[in-house]
Subunit: 224 residues, 2 copies
């Protein structure tokens, strides 16, 4: 589903964020990406979502080489890859409902489907009572959960989550992880960067560890 072949990512020519990474994530896997702050986790995820391009090497997502993807095809890629960003990236002038609805509208879902599915998803992340709030009227963890809801409302092929529980208390985190597990069981490939060792240790999924931009560990049923 995701394949990197000899990928290097340098920022501004001399900051090496990924250092000759080759790896593969197969369809339906659930993979944790762990590693110290600054080790390259977000960079890796940004390559998968084509938010950044590699300096060298190839990135394949759903069988397509992102490097040779025509620009007009990028929106189609992004409909298949749900993203939970580290800094949430909610639309500040849209309500919670409208932020999540956007994910369905952009793929042409009928209004009746949007009106039904958005409240359901928001119930699942514990925000059923806050549909008409704007992002700046939410707590940090509530904003994070809107980001999670928006990422998987349209059942993407791949869900990329960058530290989706950093602002959540342990109980709310467990709730989010159960959701991600459920969506994984329906076939969505999940790739999650996290610092939450309790979650990683309890779920015992594949763990890729990065350090200084290199993969230093790749362990099925891993621990943090």
């Amino acid at each position: 589903m995701i394949k990197l072949i000899d990928v290097v990512k340098d920022y501004k020519g001399d900051i090496r964020a990924l250092d000759n990474v080759s790896l593969e994530v197969t369809k339906g896997e659930f993979v944790f990406i762990v590693g110290p702050s600054g080790s390259g986790k977000s960079t890796f995820l940004k390559l998968v979502t084509k938010e950044e391009d590699p300096t060298s090497g190839d990135v394949f997502v759903a069988g397509k080489n992102l490097g040779s993807l025509p620009r007009w095809r990028v929106p189609y890629l992004r409909r298949n890859v749900g993203c939970v960003f580290q800094d949430f990236k909610l639309l500040p002038n849209k309500t919670v409902f409208e932020n999540v609805a956007f994910g369905l509208e952009v793929i042409g879902r009928p209004r009746s489907v949007v009106q039904r599915q958005v409240p359901q998803i928001l119930e699942l992340v514990g925000l059923g009572e806050k549909l008409d709030r704007f992002p700046d009227e939410l707590s940090g963890g509530e904003q994070q959960r809107v980001s999670v809801a928006r990422a998987f409302v349209n059942r993407p092929l791949i869900l990329v989550a960058d530290e989706p529980t950093g602002n959540l208390d342990p109980a709310t985190s467990v709730g989010i992880m159960r959701l991600l597990d459920r969506i994984n069981k329906t076939g969505t490939t999940v790739v999650m960067a996290t610092h939450d060792h309790a979650i990683v240790d309890s779920m015992r999924r594949r763990v890729l560890q990065l350090e200084h931009g290199k993969v230093v560990r790749d362990q099925s049923r891993g621990i943090y």
Copy 2:
């Protein structure tokens, strides 16, 4: 150092974020504020920094009632209260050095002091090599650490930290906590909202737990 008397905070008239809170934090204490997402932690901290005003009740900081503080006095308050914001609030057009230097410049420190202290503080948070980066050229955890450095560079009376380790790996988190402990030992009062139970449990400091805007637990040498 901080006193709340019968504080209520409502947003938009009917969202009660703090519900009749009375509490006191004495000089030199280290207090953790814990509680589920949406329980009122950030709201409490925002009242202490006068980023928000209570709907009713009084908030005293360093002996002054914030409600009757003249507007021109607010910058003086903020020089004594270092803040680590949940969403970092770095100045996007300023480098890492300039962001942290701002805290010293605004209280009139000489340039020689700025040139010496800023690199030192940034070394302490592990960012000594990134002085000339801009915030959007940093990882999430690196931005967070700049926010931490900026908050205590000028040795404030009170340090208010809103989830300062949410984006950090456990080892980097321990490093930040050791720093906060050291600054507390020099006399700075530290109030820290956190979801990191490992840190709270290991440090065994006073723990205030919020739920639905109420203080439900106040425990010296507490656990999460």
